[in-house]
Symmetry: C2
Subunit: 217 residues, 2 copies
């Protein structure tokens, strides 16, 4: 058996409906005054960490919709990020630094591998440019009413796979409309409804297995 690890890109988009959009929040109160920023922090951990390594093929976009200046997007790239540890305060601190910059419609890098811009869910989807010629992309919406990820993703291997997730509030009807219009298929990760960060772990595990199975046969 010969194995080549094929690094297809993984991208996660998480919408934080209450997550604040300036850098004034306290790292001692991520769930409260920062508008459930703790969820965003755990999603960064779930998306990017392997044991003693980072997932260099993974990007996560946090779409922040809380006061005072929504919408904003903070992007972490596993290939480029520095100063990131697994604890919530660590990712919280990098998000805070990003939100301390004056965001514009173009990305600005706040610390290595972390960027911020103005924009919402529609903007991040437009920017992903799913129709780029020659790149085969899969776009999925993680939702408990979707079909099972195990069955659905068998037999396909996209060069780029993008997953959209809601926070504890789920998605609004308008957001679901944007997601459906972008062509996303709904998937679930198992029989029970899980937190967004837990869903990301299951998705990463499924893709890990899928890539290795595909390229080690």
């Amino acid at each position: 058996m010969s194995c080549a690890f094929y690094l297809c890109m993984r991208e996660f988009i998480v919408v934080g409906h209450k997550a604040v959009t300036d850098g004034q929040f306290s790292l001692n109160d991520l769930p409260g005054s920062a508008g459930r920023m703790d969820i965003m922090c755990r999603c960064v951990n779930s998306a990017l960490f392997l044991s003693h390594d980072l997932r260099r093929d993974t990007i996560i976009y946090l779409v922040l919709l809380g006061a005072p200046g929504p919408p904003k997007i903070v992007r972490f790239s596993g290939r480029d990020v520095r100063y990131l540890n697994p604890d919530e305060r660590s990712s919280g601190s990098l998000i805070k630094k990003a939100l301390e910059l004056k965001a514009a419609v173009r990305w600005k890098e706040s610390t290595p591998g972390v960027w911020v811009r103005q924009g919402g869910l529609k903007d991040v989807l437009a920017e992903l440019n799913l129709d780029t010629e020659g790149i085969v992309s899969g776009l999925y919406y993680l939702h408990e009413d979707g079909t099972d990820i195990r069955g659905e993703m068998e037999g396909t291997l996209y060069q780029r796979t993008i997953f959209i997730l809601g926070d504890h509030e789920g998605m609004t009807a308008d957001e679901e409309h944007i997601i459906v219009n972008a062509g996303a298929r709904s998937l679930n990760v198992g029989p029970f409804s899980l937190h967004a960060d837990h869903c990301i772990i299951v998705v990463n595990n499924e893709l890990d297995r899928k890539n290795v199975r595909k390229w080690c046969d």
Copy 2:
């Protein structure tokens, strides 16, 4: 199709080699002065949380081996726990309260659903009393060199399934000896080595699927 959700008990044992054993640590520095207590906090979250609910069939034991009074065990029960939120500071605060009690060889409840006692890995395994008549138990050691959980656990449904995990330092030779002597089989959760809290998510997902598959056929 008729479904009955069969609640087989799940128990996780996580060894924190540097995690402190008194309640003097700061919630603002869980990774540093508390001896990577952040890992223990995330394991509690992974073991016990569903979206908008708790896993009432799950218990997690944290075996703490750091200064100043090792070994100690802190136990969280999903059925009984109160005041637990998903963020690291929340579980950290309940661990801190448990460690502020003077621990003895018998369990003491510090807050609802959280207990503390003196003891180490050997003690918690002895207490689990795997040979109790009439209870079919599965004991597993999660380790990257184990066999794949998907294949290994097909076709079996234990009334009680126990998983042992190390922290970022893995296990010592002495600890592995105790684990092997207790009859644990080694499992891995996929092709890459993951953090303990990420492994717990994958295990819970596997058991969720297994239970539903078994009882919904």
